[in-house]
């Protein structure tokens, strides 16, 4: 007997080339969201593009602001600082978050302890960035910082370490604040991902004598892959926006060592009052991030193997 595949009945159209009733309903329901996005995202972006093509007197200057932005050597110092910062925080947060998630998933069975860890992990995420910066300052401050005090009391060091005043330690100190605040986010996301791994697959692997590493690499990692991509996207966006704790801890110093892209952009806009150059930078950053995102999405397979 031949298989007969029932095709869905065509949805009646009101007229050729016009939307179906369902489509109209869908667009109608999407309209508030699309309208909101248009107002709060697209409109400011278009304004930024417009501003990037104008001088302070709103005269059209073509790509002059883009040229000025690219000619400024401080931009490359800021990009380098941001690159170092990202290289410090992103792998560290992902590895630590993944490690914690695996550890808790495999070892902690008590729902109460898991719930407690969930709450503890949420705390850094809900703290205002300024408060985090102030707390970090109490830890690293010269003279009365808690970290130096503890290290001296425990005999680890004899003299104070100048955490924020020398390039070799200033960037790691600033990055450590980010790692403290955002590793829990990675942990929470990946732990949720681990909960979606079917128990039968793990048990089958265990019956076959698979090691813990094999279980992770061949089974769990496949379930975490899209989440890791999500984390990468979110964290990259966050790294480009980092401002408060850097501003509070070092103000971008020593010299320009910790002047990240966001701080640099802020200074171009609110210290140099060069709105055109700041807008050009913002547009270029957005374009670069969009390209990076599409490349990452294409290069890293999101779907499970």
């Amino acid at each position: 007997m031949a298989n007969v595949t029932a095709r869905p009945a065509p949805v009646p159209r009101a007229g050729a080339g016009r939307f179906t009733r369902q489509e109209r309903l869908a667009y109608l329901m999407l309209a508030p969201v699309l309208g909101t996005i248009l107002v709060i995202v697209t409109y400011p972006f278009l304004l930024a593009v417009l501003q990037s093509l104008q001088d302070a007197g709103s005269e059209f200057v073509g790509l002059r602001n883009y040229a000025a932005a690219l000619e400024n050597p401080l931009l490359y110092e800021a990009l380098a600082a941001t690159g170092i910062y990202a290289a410090l925080v992103m792998p560290t947060e992902i590895l630590l978050g993944l490690g914690f998630a695996l550890l808790v998933h495999r070892i902690v069975r008590s729902p109460r302890i898991r719930a407690l860890l969930f709450v503890l992990a949420t705390i850094p995420l809900v703290l205002p960035p300024i408060a985090v910066g102030v707390i970090a300052r109490l830890i690293y401050a010269p003279g009365y910082g808690v970290l130096n005090h503890l290290l001296i009391v425990t005999g680890v060091i004899r003299d104070e370490i100048n955490w924020l005043g020398q390039p070799a330690t200033a960037m790691p100190a600033v990055a450590s604040v980010d790692i403290w605040q955002w590793t829990p986010f990675v942990y929470l996301v990946l732990f949720s991902g681990l909960l979606t791994v079917p128990r039968e697959e793990i048990e089958a692997a265990q019956v076959d004598g698979a090691s813990g590493w094999s279980q992770f690499w061949h089974i769990e990692f496949n379930y975490l892959r899209p989440l890791l991509l999500l984390i990468l996207f979110f964290r990259l966006a966050d790294v480009l926006r980092v401002f408060d704790h850097v501003f509070i801890l070092t103000g971008g110093g020593p010299g320009n060592t910790t002047q990240l892209l966001s701080l640099y952009l802020y200074r171009i806009e609110f210290k140099y009052f060069d709105g055109g150059q700041a807008a050009a930078l913002a547009v270029m950053v957005l374009a670069a991030v969009s390209i990076a995102y599409s490349l990452v999405t294409r290069l890293l397979p999101v779907e499970r193997r």
Binding site: A141, G143, I161, G253, G255, Q259
Partner: protein, 429 residues
């Protein structure tokens, strides 16, 4: 029928016209409320404390919207740019005045609302709120324009000097400061605290030293002089001589760290702002040195003069405020002699000579005499250019690099001078 169809449109037009009229600057009607954009911290504490008294007296509610320092500046820049009538009064740090003056963001308080100088308040306090500046170089965009009072001081900040008077005499010169620093430095006790954090903090610490050494950022024609011999000597004095007696980490020390180090008895001397004194150094709940620290005007340098720096906070009325007269009346009330007594009682920093020299108030506020002398000696203000924020960022970054040993003082001033020259040339100076 036509009449009825047009009626809503007529109502809408009438409402719009009415709204536009209400939004015209200089409105003389009594508003129900005045909204003030203020800086969060000790600078606006007394303002918040006395504001309800004004409501009791006039029935006008005073709503104070607070922002941290940098956010306030951003907010004012964007509000003024949009010509938004959000605020009737704004608190401004005096280095912001050239930017807002050049952009003509504020209403004239003298010619429009009749606010006059009071002989009990030093002229320099009014001068700092006057645009274009009544003395010193004037930015090209402001040249030839009539000077008007666009801000009135409500926090009479002048940068001064503090030292442990229980341990030694007052330094008269920066050489004595250095000698005292070296003499008193010992384990866990620092001879001098450099406020060396990048950009604004280190520049605020450095300028009084620079001026006292006979240097400056610009000459009277806006030519850059930060790389001349006197200026370089001042830079070396800060980043080498004073740093030698300072705690490690000077490169990241800000005002609160400096005062804490004094308050916990780990430092001998430093520059200081009045707000740090009342909030930390003389605050018995956090300070171990209350009564052991004395306050004096800036010591003299090789130029023979000790020059303090103004850091006044002013109140101004934005161009877009529809309640200009009421806002100006509030300023007059707040700065009046009677209100200032209550204001000081609530922790305010006055600029009135009669209050600063009042012996009873001096007992409670041990820095008042030094502040009176500092104002009398006519402190300098930061160069009155709308480019100051950028200049300060350039200078403060390079000074910080020199303090951290990332560059030599010579290279730091050269790099700073080159960048500032390029900036000023681009801005039409």
């Amino acid at each position: 029928m036509k009449k009825i169809r047009w009626a809503p449109a007529v109502v809408v037009v009438a409402l719009i016209v009415g709204a536009c009229q209400a939004a015209a600057p200089g409105g003389g009607q009594k508003p129900a409320k005045l909204t003030i954009a203020a800086v969060q911290g000790n600078e606006d504490a007394a303002l918040k404390a006395v504001a309800p008294l004004y409501e009791q007296k006039t029935g006008i509610k005073i709503e104070i919207v607070e922002f941290p320092y940098d956010q306030l500046f951003e907010k004012l820049v964007t509000t003024f740019k949009a010509n938004s009538p959000t605020y009737d009064l704004v608190m401004m740090d005096d280095p912001w005045m050239p930017k807002f003056g050049t952009d003509e963001s504020l209403q004239a308080l003298d010619s429009t609302y009749g606010i006059k100088r009071d002989s009990d308040i030093p002229d320099v306090v009014y001068d700092v709120g006057t645009w274009p500046p009544p003395r010193g170089p004037v930015p090209p965009k402001a040249q030839g324009k009539a000077a008007h009072l666009i801000g009135v001081t409500i926090v009479g900040n002048v940068e001064m000097f503090m030292y442990r008077s229980d341990m030694g005499p007052a330094p008269k010169t920066w050489d004595e400061v250095k000698a005292n620093a070296d003499k008193n430095k010992k384990a866990n006790f620092w001879g001098y605290v450099v406020r060396g954090k990048a950009t604004n903090p280190i520049v605020a610490d450095f300028l009084p030293i620079l001026w006292s050494f006979g240097g400056d950022v610009f000459d009277s024609n806006w030519a850059v002089t930060i790389d001349n011999a006197a200026s370089l000597k001042a830079v070396k004095f800060l980043v080498q001589d004073l740093k030698a007696a300072a705690p490690p980490g000077s490169e990241s020390i800000d005002a609160a760290d400096r005062s804490r180090l004094m308050a916990i008895g780990q430092a001998y001397q430093s520059t200081v702002w009045p707000g740090e004194i009342s909030e930390i150094v003389e605050n018995a709940s956090v300070s171990q040195v209350k009564g052991k620290v004395s306050y004096i005007p800036m010591p003299a340098g090789p130029s023979g003069k000790g020059i303090g720096m103004m850091g006044n906070w002013l109140l101004g009325v934005p161009k877009a405020s529809p309640n200009g007269q009421a806002a100006a009346d509030f300023i007059t009330w707040l700065t009046s002699s009677d209100t200032q007594k209550t204001y000081v009682d609530k922790g305010g920093i006055p600029a009135r000579k009669s209050i600063l020299n009042d012996s009873a108030l001096n007992q409670k506020n041990p820095y008042f005499a030094a502040l009176a002398k500092s104002l009398e000696a006519v402190p300098n203000w930061r160069p009155r250019t709308d480019q100051w924020n950028a200049v300060e960022t350039i200078l403060g970054t390079n000074l910080n690099a020199a303090l951290a040993g990332l560059t030599t003082p010579e290279d730091a001033v050269k790099k700073a001078a080159d960048q500032i020259r390029t900036l000023m040339k681009g801005a039409g100076y």
